[in-house]
Amino acid sequence: MAPATPATASAITLTVNGEKHTLTVDHRTTLLDALRERLDLTGPKKGCDQGQCGACTVLVDGRRIVSCLELAVATEGRAVTTIEGVADGDALHPVQQAFLDLDGFQCGYCTPGQICSALAVLDEHAAGWPSAATPDVRPEAGPPPLTPEEIRERMSGNLCRCGAYVSIVQAVARAAEHRAGHPGHGAEATTESTTKESAA
């Protein structure tokens, strides 16, 4: 049994983007507020503070979560990755590059969450996880291909009010191809057309 901590605040050590930070947090402080207000990591955004928009998405031990519904004190000992930790120095991560090149954002406020979510989507898909868009979830059916429908369903926890969804889906598809070892023009390959002539 862990020692009881009968107090309103605790000193904790948060590991964020590989860096350890020691700070005292009120137990009610969410991970999102700790990151933004205490560690000045303002990449994760506060869009709703209720788990209803996804703008605050970060990775904890590699899994995507909404940081507005996670208590900071509960993430002690876990590895947190925010948008600030995604690029490799000056080199953008392929997901970031695809968002930039394909204009997968407008105002940019949901973008850190979309990108963190996309990173996890690629991992979850690679691990064979099905989604609500997967026609047959039985393992015998094999892992679902990462179609635009699959990407849309898996990214649905990230709202974008500007309506950048179409290019976000293209960007995730391009990043997935890059990851699969086929860097190139993934967007063109996976973009569906609204036009009959090219559909025919």
């Binding site: 990449g43 994760p44 709703c48 209720q50 600030e84 105002c107 949901c110 309506g163 179409v166 609204t194």
Partner: protein, 708 residues
């Protein structure tokens, strides 16, 4: 392919100049600038919908930890609210704590300021406000006896004898439509930081016009305009909601009284309550036509609501004045005053709900005539403004339909309803016209040739996600005849001088005029300087007021054609949009990459409006029920299929830049195209938005009952 020998500027796709900052999380928004000694404000909003504040129990709250001040109508400093800004009289909500009346639920009744946001929130939630409550009325519906025609220049427009033309018509469509209360729901909630610094008021904000906000704050607090500086670097979406709202007034009030920097960040729920919304509408359209489809009569009456404080008109009936010729026209707006917040502009104000009604009615008329809906529109194409008689600066609505029809495969469409099925889904396609005014307003800009060979543009523009920063970079580079990477555009700072706001699809057009004319003037000065640039650079500054005054009076608008394909499962009521295509004639396209994004974004707004968006008012409390994203649905990834937007050439011969606005037109007609497609798929006409599953199911039950 574009093959220009010169710099790659206007017309060439460019990624956003601030894009790297946005994909790395480096871009800082309004609540993300660190300040020393920052205090935090929290607004207390009224729990009642009508009445008076009797008492505010601030004494107990002042004793709570960290609390610095409590402001309310009993102690707040006086504000000056008798003024007119560039966008008219102030929103009544800005008269913060100036009286004890509560005109609607969510009216700000107190402000708590504390050392930390948690302390401020806890104190605000503990604050006891006593009210004298009065009965309220928030029931908006057609047929209320207390509606009236507002005193607004746009309220009514008529020509011809409407009733006579209706009587002479072979076919008459008379239909009523409703659209619900809708909210902007920008992903970034409103937030502001205010502080006094060296005798100047500095405001870090998220808004659509830093100069506008600075001007109103100066008026409200009786300050010299030059002593107010408002900055708004990155804006997490706006859509009409980010003007001057009570939170900025609250922050300035507290910063002034406490002489400390004060930050105020609204919760999502508060943004629903105090940052404006689109009024619900109840509209009636009557169309009378000859058998060949020519309109004899076009009537469009639109009822919207406003607060008891100030008339705000959702101008839903205006677009018929531009779109269609008819012998008789009657388009009119009515209002009803309710105990509701004052509505405000929301993306394509007027045209968005108006086009749902009018473009549905055109589709109904086409059905009745047995005529293709595109052909019907072609029969009624005006040569000059149907009411104004003025020539169009450019108009190619039919070109949009032609190109759209070709690419969408419209010719293959079997017009019979319920003629296509795929598994559990009935499929259908629909179309609608789009138009939005292409206005411009005076703006100032400066362009500096720096000694190092680069150029700096300064303009109080706002990039709310439109790509304005990038577009102006390209406009300046073109005018300077240099590569865009030599141009830095600085925006969002009221110190850069007066400029129009990011609104009304007028921002980029107005700013482009100012930037290009300043750049041209700079080139002239540089030629004179003979390449000799002093360390402080050479700056040219222009004001476009004169230039705009010289523009000939014409009908200036963007046009477009919307196409949608839907799948409907009438056994569950689910509707899925399968594809959308929008073709637009919108002047010269500065940056095709971001322009497409903006238009597609607008079309997604139309999809969201068609299928999802609806704020529910609780009649008992008068408040919005479920003011959050779990209840107020906006389209999510899974709702949005492949959507394409494209342009046709649209030269504007007499226009100095040829740029039109594209911020709003994407939503116009989109909901109608989807609803028309649902009618094609199912045979059922829906006249109430959103097209919720329960409505589709009920319609199907009723149709089944009728057919026995």
């Amino acid at each position: 392919m574009t093959t220009t020998a010169g710099p790659r500027t206007v017309g060439v796709a460019h990624t956003r100049v601030e894009g790297r900052d946005k994909v790395t999380g480096a871009a800082r928004y309004a609540s993300e600038q660190p300040f020393d000694h920052l205090a935090h404000g929290w607004l207390v909003l009224s729990a009642i919908a009508r009445g008076r504040v009797r008492a505010v129990g601030d004494a107990a709250v002042r004793a709570m930890p960290g609390v610095l001040a409590v402001f309310h109508s009993g102690n707040a400093p006086r504000l000056m609210t008798d003024y007119t800004s560039i966008l008219g009289p102030p929103d009544p909500t800005l008269a913060l704590f100036q009286h004890d009346r509560v005109p609607h639920q969510g009216w700000p009744v107190a402000l708590v300021v504390a050392e930390t946001p948690e302390q401020a929130r806890e104190a605000a939630e503990a604050l006891v406000v006593e009210y004298d409550e009065e009965p309220h009325d928030v029931a908006f519906h057609a047929g209320r006896p207390d509606t009236y025609i507002p005193e607004d220049a746009n309220a009514v427009a008529s020509k011809g004898d409407l009733e006579a033309e209706l009587a002479a018509s072979a076919v008459v469509v008379d239909a009523s439509y409703t659209t619900p209360e809708e909210h902007h729901s920008a992903m970034e909630p409103h937030a502001v930081t205010a502080r006094w610094d060296g005798g100047r008021l500095e405001v870090i904000d998220t808004n659509q016009g830093a100069m506008w906000v600075a001007g109103e704050l100066a008026q409200l607090f009786s300050l010299d305009p030059s002593s107010v500086r408002v900055r708004s670097e990155h804006i997490g979406g706006a859509f009409g909601s980010k003007g001057v709202r009570p939170h900025q007034v609250a922050a300035v009030m507290a910063a002034t009284e406490l002489q400390r920097p004060v930050r105020l960040a609204l919760t999502r729920r508060q943004t629903f309550a105090i940052t404006g919304y689109r009024s619900p509408t109840a509209q009636r359209v009557r169309l009378g036509a000859d058998p060949d489809g020519r309109l004899r009569a076009l009537e469009h009456e639109a009822l919207s609501l406003t607060s008891t404080l100030r008339p705000f008109v959702e101008t839903s009936a205006v677009l018929g004045r531009v779109l269609y010729d008819a012998r008789a026209h009657h388009t009119a707006h009515r209002l009803v005053d309710l105990d509701m917040p004052t509505p405000t502009w929301m993306r394509a104000p007027g045209e968005a709900p108006g086009s749902f009604a009018l473009e549905s009615a055109l589709d109904e008329l086409a059905d009745r005539l047995g005529m293709d809906p595109i052909e019907l529109r072609a029969r009624n194409e005006p040569t000059v403004g149907p009411l104004s008689g003025l020539p169009f600066s450019s108009r190619d609505l039919l070109g949009c339909f032609r190109e759209g029809a070709r690419r969408f495969g419209w010719a293959e469409r079997d017009p019979r309803p319920r003629s296509r099925r795929e598994g559990r889904w009935l499929l259908g396609t629909g179309t609608a016209a789009a138009t939005y005014p292409s206005g411009a307003a005076p703006s100032t800009a400066s362009v500096t040739a720096e000694a190092d060979g680069t150029f700096t543009v300064r303009i109080t523009a706002a990039d709310v996600g439109t790509g304005a920063r990038t577009a102006l970079t390209l406009i300046a580079a073109e005018a300077l005849d240099v590569e865009p990477d030599r141009v830095t555009v600085r925006i969002g700072d009221s110190d850069f001088g007066p400029a129009w706001v990011a609104g009304g699809s007028m921002g980029t057009r107005s700013w482009s005029l100012a930037v290009s004319s300043a750049a041209r003037e700079l080139r002239g000065r540089l030629a004179l300087a003979d390449g000799d640039i002093p360390p402080e650079g050479i700056t040219a500054r222009t004001d476009t007021a004169g230039l705009l005054a010289e523009l000939a009076k014409k009908e200036r608008h963007s046009f477009g054609a919307q196409f949608a394909e839907v799948a409907v499962d009438v056994t569950t009521g689910e509707i899925r949009v399968r594809r959308m295509l929008g073709i637009f004639a919108a002047g010269r396209i500065v940056n095709p990459l971001t322009a497409r994004s903006q238009l597609v974004g607008g079309m997604i707004w139309g999809l969201s409006m068609a299928l999802h968006e609806e704020a529910v008012r609780d009649p008992a409390s008068g408040g919005q029920l479920g003011a959050d994203f779990a209840n107020y649905h906006v389209a999510a990834h899974a709702d949005v299929p492949a959507i394409e937007a494209d342009f046709i050439d649209d030269p504007v011969p007499d226009d100095p830049v040829g740029v039109k606005g594209i911020g709003e037109i994407g939503i116009v007609g989109a909901a109608a195209a989807i609803s028309n497609a649902v009618r094609h798929a199912t045979g059922v006409r829906h006249r109430d938005l959103p097209l919720r599953p329960d409505r589709v199911l009920r319609a199907e039950e009723e149709a089944a009952a009728q057919h026995g």
